[in-house]
């Protein structure tokens, strides 16, 4: 089975096409979106890139607080930022 050339996910309902091997955190940055609002309402994006800082946490397929730099995009994945 050959790898597809592109995958499509949705970020806040908007489709985005990415290359296989792209993490959800990278996809959200490609879309020009922020990951989350901090507890005082600041916009935040990824910081550590290795699953430690939790700044990139978002909801994936309804599962909240996913560390998105550790998750690969899959076709049809629904990502929700809270920014």
């Amino acid at each position: 089975m050959s790898m597809p050339d592109r995958l499509t996910i949705t970020i806040d309902g908007v489709p985005l096409s990415v290359a296989p091997g792209t993490t959800v955190a990278a996809a959200v940055m490609i879309a020009g979106k922020f990951c989350r609002n901090s507890v005082t309402g600041e916009r935040r994006g990824p910081l550590c890139g290795m699953g430690i800082c939790f700044e990139c946490r978002m909801s994936i397929n309804g599962l909240p607080h996913s560390r998105t730099c550790q998750v690969l995009c899959e076709n049809g994945m629904e990502v929700r930022t809270d920014a």
């Binding site: 792209t22 993490t23 490609i30 600041e42 994006g45 910081l47 290795m50 800082c53 550790q70």
Partner: protein
């Protein structure tokens, strides 16, 4: 007849160079070996993406050895608890797994140190290794402008990688003094295997702007980063850029070692000649025993893997380790943070990004524990992994004892008693 699960003879936590070397070396005598890692694939931070597409001969070799070994890989598994000695619980995307071991090798690596300064929480202000990791996982960087700042050899490696991917490196700002860097370079020439690296680096540095005695003072932007103001060799300078890749050297990941009760000294895990910790059946290799880079990690990993599987330790490995250990001291001295960096953060700047605690609030307390209890600093999901090393430098605070779970996990995982989890074993009996 029901089969009884067997513990792993050697279980290795962390799949970077140290962990791979430990697992491969232990498995070479046919003992059962498990290699557990919390990332999507093995390789750790320095060999991220090298498993599929090796660009370095040494990583190609080790991945080859790993593939042809009988090491059982357990990816995307994050240890959060030791319910009893000889047993670890790890969270995976599907379920909580229980792992039993006779001998354990900790190869948990290191993370970047971050320091607060105005604007450091803006999107697109990232770790140096952080930005590199994102680019390796699909973020296009060609044509983007980047300022790389902070301290440590990682800055140069990251800048070189990003430039190769088409980024425009506007400046590499290294806080260490010119004098310290010259001394470092001179010492590199006496390190085995470092001369070629030093020469290659020298060639590269002629192509980019590198400034010692320099550090970021503020990042500006409305919703995301637009420019950075730095102190460049004594003069302020503002540079427009898409990304600020900023990290202040590395701090070892010692949380698991602490949880298990291993003795630490000056923030590093104490080990003997054989890489054994104060707990005899627990070994430790790589950055948690001292920030020394990939060559040392590979050698320590081999020693730990051989010792954990009761094999003979070749004198050559021990000699090489002791030689490379000098590099740890050299790195510490060269990239020691200057005191000026303590005053970068302003009272209103956030130090704990999880709980948005400003410096002004934290500053009133005299210990990490008091600050945590009164301000929630370090109480968020990262459990102080980001603000802990920052306050350690800013206020000379030491973290408290580590308590489980050492990573956030679901309530159901905490409410289950041992024996109810999916068991990953080193074989059946």
């Amino acid at each position: 007849m029901p089969s009884r699960s067997q513990p792993f003879d050697v279980l290795v936590v962390g799949g970077g160079p140290a962990g791979i070397a430990a697992a491969v070396s232990a498995a070479s005598r046919g003992v059962t070996v498990g290699l557990l890692d919390d990332n999507l694939t093995v390789g750790g931070q320095i060999w991220r993406g090298e498993e599929k597409n090796a660009t370095r001969p040494e990583s190609r070799d080790w991945f080859e050895k790993l593939r042809s070994s009988n090491v059982q890989l357990i990816a995307q598994a994050r240890v959060f608890q030791q319910p009893m000695p000889g047993m670890l619980l790890a969270d995976t995307p599907a379920e909580v797994v229980e792992l039993q071991y006779a001998n354990l090798v900790l190869a948990t690596g290191a993370r970047e140190r971050f320091l607060p300064f105005p604007g450091w929480t803006l999107p697109n202000v990232m770790g140096a290794g952080g930005l590199q990791a994102l680019v390796k996982s699909g973020l296009p960087i060609a044509g983007k402008s980047v300022v790389v700042a902070g301290t440590g050899p990682l800055l140069l490696a990251v800048a070189r990688y990003l430039r190769k991917q088409g980024a425009e490196i506007r400046l590499i700002a290294e806080q260490a003094s010119r004098r310290k860097l010259i001394r470092f370079a001179a010492n590199l020439l006496h390190q085995p295997g470092k001369l070629a690296q030093a020469l290659e680096l020298g060639r590269y540095l002629r192509a980019v702007r590198f400034a010692p005695n320099s550090w970021p003072m503020a990042a500006q932007g409305k919703d995301e980063l637009e420019s950075v103001t730095l102190s460049v060799d004594g003069s302020p300078e503002t540079i427009a850029c898409d990304y600020l890749a900023c990290g202040f050297h590395l701090v070892p990941n010692t949380e698991l070692a602490s949880l298990l009760g291993c003795e630490l000294k000056h923030g590093y895990v104490s080990v003997d000649e054989t890489q054994a910790t104060s707990i005899g059946s627990v070994f430790c290799a790589g950055e948690p025993t001292g920030i020394g880079g990939v060559e040392l990690a590979l050698i320590e990993g081999q020693i730990a893997g051989l010792a954990a599987s009761k094999q003979r330790l070749p004198a050559r490995l021990l000699r090489d380790r002791d030689k490379l250990k000098r590099f740890v001291v050299l790195l510490d001295e060269t990239f020691q943070l200057r005191t000026e960096l303590r005053s970068l953060g302003q009272p209103e700047n956030i130090v704990c990004r999880c709980e948005d605690v400003p410096l002004a609030q934290v500053r009133r307390y005299t210990s990490w524990r008091a600050a945590k209890l009164h301000t929630r600093c370090g109480m968020g999901p990262c459990q102080g992994r980001i603000c802990g090393p920052a306050t350690e430098f800013l206020f000379k605070w030491r973290p408290d004892s580590v308590r489980p779970p050492i990573f956030p996990t679901g309530l159901e995982a905490l409410a289950t008693t041992p024996g109810q989890y999916q068991i990953v074993t080193g074989g059946e009996q």
